[in-house]
Symmetry: C2
Subunit: 449 residues, 2 copies
């Protein structure tokens, strides 16, 4: 049996990436995020071979990364193995690799583990943190886009407190207990809120020898409001909520540099802080090889309403990497999960029609189901439409319910629910583990961007 | 408040490790394992200051490490933050550090973060993996004593399969799918059984392109039976159970070397294997500075029946590091959790009496409550006494129940139970995550021993 298996593989020189050779057209999907998974699923019954390539062997539920970073959840709650998610789909093949280049002439992608020919290529490889060219910030701050980064941040937060308790210098203690969060979007607001909860409820019990009232949390936002993209009322409410956790909110302020544990703001202020959490922006995770004319601003690729990348007939894109410019969205659609899911679902349908030579592809229209953010226990803001928005305990329950339902898999839902109920009742955070204390994550960075 | 706090610290030069200075005698406990935690708890109401030092900020429930290594559980299920475990105890202080030396003349310990004077010193720092001097095995095999090691092994097992699916060489695939477990104690038996379950139930669904029947699991044991320390019947049953998972059991066999993915056995056989799991022995985690006359074989320290280290009046030991030689146990007691717990509980009582100048210390008598091991679903062996032993489904339930009850904390119990029920019903293992795919754990080892 094994020999038959082996010989059925296409092992020509330019194709060291072994995939069974079939007569069906091959759809290569780069990325197993919200867009990629929905495209693959949508192609389950299509006469195509689906190959997904991702750097990680799991799908990450990014909206809850901040809870991993603040010791509330463990990785298995928000990460689902991609092979498991799609194992019932017989035309699906997964390969763990980083794609480094697209060769549009030869119709192949080049990855760390070899190259692979495609009939149709789908870019669903999302976005990465934008450090706006500041190398020092890139090296010393903590972004929060990937699971290893969340674990690095958890490690660093807890290690900083262990260091603080050893210090006899008040100044050094203050620096170690100072946290600057950059970016007033949902990630920044939620991580600042979670730090506020740690400060109020969890850490004082762990560190009776430290005066946790001296712990400082700053949230720095460049525009004049938090949660841009949500209603003004929600943004204002978020400021109020955060201030109750004694988070200091800096609006209309930019971080210009970060060196030797000093954060430089563009208003001339400096903040001593051992921890800088960077949630100030993302950009498309662009892969080399596309025609520059197909690239939109912010490293995204231009797509038409059907998901096709401008200038190519067999390259498509969906999710954060894709920019569909419409009258309503002149900058492309927001880089959020619902857009990725809806674009992925539509693109799967369109690809099926293309392969089957059917006409009338579907055009993308974003159904905005509203947005929400939470700021610690019992506090959230929800915008359902332009006019309907609410806040407080009920909004918080809505936030919990919507996120719980969106988590992949019944087991993960149960584990997350158990942890949430526990955390709520006991004011505890169970996963405050410094798994690898011998590693200095700030200077010996583990995760790639 | 902060100034008062700071000035109350004893900051003499030789004591950079800041601990509040009190008039009470200071008990320094090295290690937060089963022994250390029970000693600290037992001293809750004693007129002493308790300082615990551990390299990790968590207590590890070692009996379930193998389930983390085989993707069944996440770390938070079996690791409990030490500060949390002892937070209600006002005389307790924790410092995360590695102790490098004991200075018995000056009565202080020297750690990575400074030194600290003690009135009473308790060695509860357990054991570490014994590689019997083989440097190549030390560098390339996977021990299973600490949580980071379990995560390294999980990463390596899953990465090996991702590599195998990329290979077009049958030989290379076989090498990548070959696992050699060394040591027929509970750890070796349980990890081999768990690998057998992965092979039978989990991996074929994940890797339909691989012929998992070619995955090979070997268990190598130096003596003529498995589970030494348990009854002969249980050892024989374990062999039968493992063989049903097509685990090849090698008795009376030693591993003599490991190089370039080749395992050399002392009977002249070689096994190609990308993964060597080393559970062949442990030795005391000895710290420099004790009088050589106080050292027993296998790097343990000699203690008397009251827990005192031979040759010292104010140094004590409990758990794996301590060897109490009796007629029944001429090699010292077995290095297992129940001994550590019982010795810890007794030592706390004795220390309290010593501090209060009471007479009649308690002498240690080990109450052996039996032992057990599991080999995959529905299969376990339990020895209650020399004469009462049972096996099969009921034994398996007993194993599950005893381990579930022993896990620290109600939340962890719930999460473990949820995962166990899920794993049982679905034949799934949820945590098969290669969190940091860019790290080659085999050649870039993360965990310290």
């Amino acid at each position: 049996m094994s020999e038959i298996q082996a010989s059925s593989y296409d092992t020509v020189q330019c194709q060291t990436l072994r995939i069974p050779d079939t007569s069906k057209p091959r759809v290569v999907i780069i990325g197993g995020g919200f867009a990629g998974v929905h495209i693959a699923r949508g192609l389950a019954k299509s006469p195509v071979q689906v190959v997904m390539i991702d750097r990680y062997n799991y799908h990450t539920f990014q909206p809850l990364l901040y809870q991993v970073a603040t010791s509330g959840l463990e990785p298995d709650s928000i990460a689902a193995p991609l092979r498991k998610m799609l194992e019932s789909q017989s035309n699906f093949h997964f390969r763990m690799a980083t794609v480094t280049q697209i060769d549009t002439e030869e119709q192949r992608i080049i990855a760390s583990i070899g190259s692979l020919r495609y009939d149709y290529l789908v870019l669903a490889n999302g976005s990465k943190t934008n450090f706006y060219g500041n190398e020092s910030i890139r090296q010393k701050s903590f972004p929060l886009k990937q699971l290893p980064q969340a674990l690095d941040l958890r490690h660093h937060i807890l290690s900083s407190l262990e260091q603080a308790i050893l210090s006899s210098s008040i100044e050094e203690q203050d620096r170690l207990m100072s946290f600057v969060v950059v970016g007033g979007g949902p990630t920044g607001v939620e991580v600042a809120g979670a730090l506020g909860e740690l400060k109020l409820h969890v850490l004082p019990k762990d560190y009776p020898e430290l005066d946790l009232r001296r712990m400082r949390i700053h949230l720095v936002e460049g525009t004049d409001s938090l949660l841009n993209g949500m209603s003004a009322a929600s943004g204002e409410e978020a400021v109020k909520y955060l201030e109750r956790f004694s988070v200091q909110v800096w609006l209309n302020t930019l971080v210009s540099d970060y060196n030797d544990d000093v954060v430089y703001l563009n208003n001339g202020t400096t903040i001593d802080a051992h921890t800088l959490i960077w949630g100030a922006g993302v950009m498309g995770n662009l892969i080399e090889g596309l025609n520059p004319a197909s690239i939109f601003r912010n490293n995204r690729v231009k797509i038409d309403a059907y998901g096709k990348v401008e200038g190519y007939d067999n390259i498509f894109a969906a999710g954060d990497i894709a920019a569909l410019v419409t009258e309503e969205y002149p900058q492309g659609h927001p880089m959020v999960a619902p857009v990725a899911i809806q674009q992925g679902q539509l693109l799967a349908k369109n690809l099926k029609k293309i392969v089957e030579n059917k006409q009338e592809l579907g055009a993308f229209v974003y159904k905005d189901k509203g947005s929400m953010a939470t700021v610690g226990r019992n506090r959230a803001v929800v915008d359902l439409t332009d006019k309907i928005h609410f806040k407080g305990v009920f909004a918080w329950f809505v936030w919990l319910f919507v996120h719980l339902m969106a988590i992949v898999g019944f087991r993960s839902k149960l584990v997350v629910l158990t942890n949430w109920i526990w955390n709520y009742l006991t004011y505890d955070r169970a996963a405050r583990l410094i798994i690898r204390p011998f590693v200095d994550v700030k200077n010996e960075r583990r995760a790639e961007e």
